[in-house]
Symmetry: C2
Subunit: 412 residues, 2 copies
């Protein structure tokens, strides 16, 4: 009995394989379904996969303007909308885009069925607005696939154990896609977006940045946490834990994008450094006269994702947090009755690569490169596959360019 849980996913997987055809989950974000013409384009894309012989599950986000309009209505009605009702409201957005896409698929001569999160068996916990998926009951999807239908699932939503509509929070459609791919035993989970994949650096800063062919889950997690906004963190973690191969690619081209896979996957090219990520502003907090354990327990309690931590002395701690958590941090520190300060004139440059583990000297080269262009690192943090430096916001762009150049990331 105790092993049932662990065996669930591979069991469903072999079930899908037993059906004799590979299954692909294809997720399309808000910019990919912005208007009805784009929804028709997505329908073509899904039908092409079906005609290539795949069993196809599509996951569509809401049309961008739909969600904005729903949020505007909620704000007009209430300053603090009831969370359960807010989920009832905003979850209609995905239902609209998926139903429209199903109609378009019929017009292309194929059968389709759009399912709400609830109908698709996406069971979540009861936390409205940022529910976590607890289980996927794939029966209805599998039945529809067996009926030769293209199945569309409303992303970003589920039904709670209390039988209420829930939403998964920002980027939740990635999570829906990854969970479905795991539960249904998909060969690949394709994440369609408005960029061509994951790049060695932000192409707006480094014109010769190169699209990566493949990354490990760990590298993608570090990149995402360090400022690369391509994929939701939680969905990458989930994919890693359930061995779902992700393929991030462009909605608007047929080119291959970037694969995100296990360290052992043959698609990987074992580069030492994969990319340079950055944030322009990463607030740095300094707190005195407080126990570190107590401080970070409190920060965790208000859901702040603390990044770098430095114990400066026995009674002084420095830490950084993402810009969106700045206000929460300030409120918490202000409430503790301690001496504290904050500076927001720094950004962060992060060098990431799975090959770092076995290649010493990367840190030394990083610091030498920054010194060489006269940039001072204020705070340094590392993981086995990352070196991150806080530098002045004004120095972020040229630091990224210099590191990209020094490690020759423009060449594969």
């Amino acid at each position: 009995m105790t092993t049932t849980h662990y065996e669930a996913v591979p069991e469903v997987a072999s079930d899908a394989q037993a059906r004799g055809r590979d299954l692909v989950v294809m997720k399309f974000g808000g910019s990919s379904v912005g208007d009805t013409q784009k929804i028709k384009d997505v329908a073509h894309r899904l039908v092409a996969a079906r005609e290539a012989g795949y069993r196809v599950v599509g996951v569509l986000s809401a049309m961008g303007h739909t969600t904005d309009e729903l949020i505007r209505l909620a704000r007009e009605v209430s300053a603090r909308p009831n969370p359960r009702e807010y989920d009832m409201l905003v979850s209609t957005g995905e239902r609209i885009s998926n139903a429209l896409c199903a109609m378009a698929i019929y017009d292309l001569g194929h059968e389709a069925v759009s399912l709400t999160g609830s109908q698709a068996g996406i069971v979540t916990d009861t936390v409205h607005g940022k529910a976590k998926i607890a289980e996927v009951r794939g029966q209805r999807i599998n039945d529809a696939l067996d009926d030769e239908k293209i199945v569309l699932v409303a992303g970003f939503q589920g039904v709670s154990s209390a039988n209420e509509v829930t939403t998964l929070g920002r980027g939740g459609s990635d999570m829906t896609a990854a969970a479905l791919a795991a539960a249904l035993g998909a060969t690949v989970c394709e994440i369609y977006t408005d960029v061509e994949g994951v790049f060695t650096a932000d192409p707006r800063i480094v014109p010769n940045a190169r699209k990566l062919k493949a990354l490990t889950y760990e590298e993608m997690l570090e990149l995402a946490a360090s400022g690369a906004k391509v994929l939701q963190l939680r969905s990458v973690e989930f994919a890693r834990n359930h061995d779902v191969r992700l393929h991030v690619r462009s909605t608007f081209s047929q080119a291959e994008g970037t694969w995100i896979v296990d360290e052992e996957d043959p698609v990987l090219e074992k580069a030492i450094i994969s990319g340079v990520a950055h944030t322009d502003c990463e607030p740095l907090f300094r707190a005195r006269e407080i126990d570190a354990a107590k401080l970070f327990a409190q920060l965790a309690g208000v859901s702040v994702n603390v990044d770098t931590i430095l114990q400066v002395s026995s009674d002084e701690i420095v830490f950084s947090a993402p810009l969106e958590d700045r206000e929460t941090c300030e409120q918490l520190l202000g409430s503790l009755g301690i001496e504290w300060s904050m500076r927001d004139d720094l950004g962060k440059v992060s060098l990431i690569g799975a090959g770092m583990k076995s290649h010493p000297g990367i840190a030394a080269k990083t610091f030498a490169t920054l010194e060489g262009i006269g940039v001072e690192s204020k705070v340094i943090s590392t993981s086995p596959i990352k070196i991150a430096c806080h530098v002045a916001t004004a120095d972020v762009s040229r630091s990224v360019a210099a590191l990209h150049d020094a490690f020759e990331l423009e060449t594969a």
Copy 2:
């Protein structure tokens, strides 16, 4: 066992009464929830009923522009949208308005919960676009009412026996309200609209038309079938069959509206004539060389609501049908290979009143009145409580005014 079905409604009714508080179902149409301010007004209205001691179930239609926008999107995507997906799409409109209203109720210090048709237990047949309610499973609503919540139910929709989202067709929210009122044992089903009630004639034509205090179901059915657009026919039939007292009233005033009740109800004032209804155009068809039974079976097969029928001679039939069925009739007649014609220069004026049954001479006075103003009746049809005359479209308004005057309908 065989009596279970018939006993279901009164059983639930006494159940509600056993809870010690009267239950009211309040239905608000599209014009009553046109924008967020109006939705807040509806919230006030529901809360007022709750504070007056009622158990309250609200049924809101979609905001007018929401449905228009959804239909526009569907048309952009597909010339003939798949019916199942069309229902998935348009049913989101009611979900939006009901969720917004629930938020507004919380801001007024009361608890509320908005339910989709499916969550509310509105079970229908499987006919997408014009499903019929087969059953109401009121458990979830009753539980929420027991929790002191105001319950909002998305009108116009249900879930089919095949577990698909269905819609009930035009005016379906009235049907939702009537069905809930019956199943939950409501004291009254209030239909809020943009008019003050049912009038003795259209006030735009007859300025001294009077708001009726009460009507029988039969009178309302004849009025609705004769052109009065206040209530959906099907919901009145349902209310009659299940003894639901309807109260049609204005969203924008506190005044009493018009009660629609059983013949024995004390609220009735036993008027001889209740009102004059009219349509400006009621197409008249003439068909030769076809058996009547065969013709009308075929018309029923394409869902035409044939109104007046006249067997002119052994091989000639005249019948009228509502304007919206004109094209369907023409297509059908055209396909039969018979001689036929259509004229659309006539409207219909109908005098309606339950008292007619016991008062002879109404027909004579009707014809005399029309003759007196030089109007010729082309076709006449009657029921025990109705006299209807086809007259030239140009004569409709003055015929209505003359009849209203002759029968002194301006005085109660």
